[in-house]
Amino acid sequence: MVQQLNMNNMEFKNKKINKKQIAQAILCIAVGTAAGLIVYGIFLFFHIDIFGWNLGLIFAPLAAGYVETILANKIIGENIGAISAFILFIDTTFYSFILKNPTLGWNIITAGSIIVILQAAFPTVINYILLVVIGGFLSNFFKTIKKYEMKIHHKIRNQQFFRWKTEDPKPENDDIKTESLPVYDELETNRLLNNSPFYFITSPDMKDKQYTIIKLFHSEVIVEKNKKIIQAEPEKAEYLQLIRIKDGKDECLFKLLNKIKNEGGNGILDLSINYSLIGFSGDNIQITAMGIGVLIED
């Protein structure tokens, strides 16, 4: 019986404390909201705005939340969650967007304002949406565009330079399953490259030949590097990478040939081909071909 009485007494005390705490919390929220409204009033009075958009919409909820948090920590001894900031957010939004300007149109400034206000009221959620969701969407969107652009680019380039059948030849490494892998016919490419009446000479001079020097020529091609650190099928990845490099080198040489032909030349001396990594973390391979364009007298 005595125990029962003690229990009832404790519950009554707890209820009393809870009521007191709730009252203190309401006081903190009220003071925070008042502080926010004062700040908003100051911003409105002095017209502190950018393109007609008052900065008080950001600073008022911030001030409200700040005052409320400090007060709650002093009186209650804990943070109660900046409820006044949320109240201010609703207040200011209602006042500025609906009451004060009911004809507000939907444009980029309005959209930006809403995002900024929401960001001030719910920083974690809005930052997550902005950085992770929208950032991820944009990243994937551009990756997809790039993928299709590369496919079209390869198709056009193959039509331009390499017109041979690609079903029969096998790649160098027989261990690799050749289904769905592109095939690069090296001998045919080399034949096409040297088929035109043009001299590719790696030496700086041609013995027993008369020639006129035109100028220095160079061409570049950038090939995308495989970015995966760990490959599920390393041989396949290596094979594809090599094909991309060979393909890029051919394109680079054909570009050089066309440049020299356009300037009236028919050969190149001291030809050098270089491969180097470029990009933020070396994620692309730059192929450069350069040499002296010449007109050789046959």
Binding site: E172, E186, L187, N190, R191, L193, N194, Y199, F200, I201, T202, S203, P204, D205, M206, K207, D208, K225, N226, I229, I230, Q231, P234, E235, A237, E238, Q241, L242, I245, K246, K249, L253, L271, S272, I273, N274, Y275, S276, L277, G282, I285
Partner: protein, 107 residues
């Protein structure tokens, strides 16, 4: 097939320039091989496996180049250049070995 890095062939007459011949090969995209090679480096041993791989890659490049020269009916390659380029990879061990030169016909 004569391979030379010089610009001419001594005591031989070049009768025709057949064109450019190239050969490329790539090694080191395999993480297991890379890791093994890394361990060997730490204990101070020579990475003989890698040396073998590089030699193999160079041979493939040269062989590819020779095949192309033969197809062009050449019997020598002058101005031969061989280069080894690091393309990053798992542990910076993806190496591109390239060889190129001018295929010629001599008497």
């Amino acid at each position: 097939m004569i391979l030379t890095s010089s610009n001419t062939l001594e005591n031989k007459k070049i009768i025709d320039y057949k064109g450019l011949v190239t050969g490329e090969s790539l090694i080191g995209a395999n993480i297991y091989k890379d890791l093994f090679s890394g361990v060997r480096d730490v204990v101070g041993g020579r990475t003989s496996k890698y040396e073998e791989e590089i030699q193999k890659a160079r041979d493939i490049s040269l062989q590819s180049m020779i095949e192309k020269a033969e197809q062009l009916d050449a019997n020598a390659i002058i101005g031969l250049k061989i280069s080894y380029d690091n393309l990053g990879g798992t542990m910076g061990n993806t190496i591109l070995v390239t060889a190129y030169g001018t295929a010629i016909k001599y008497e």
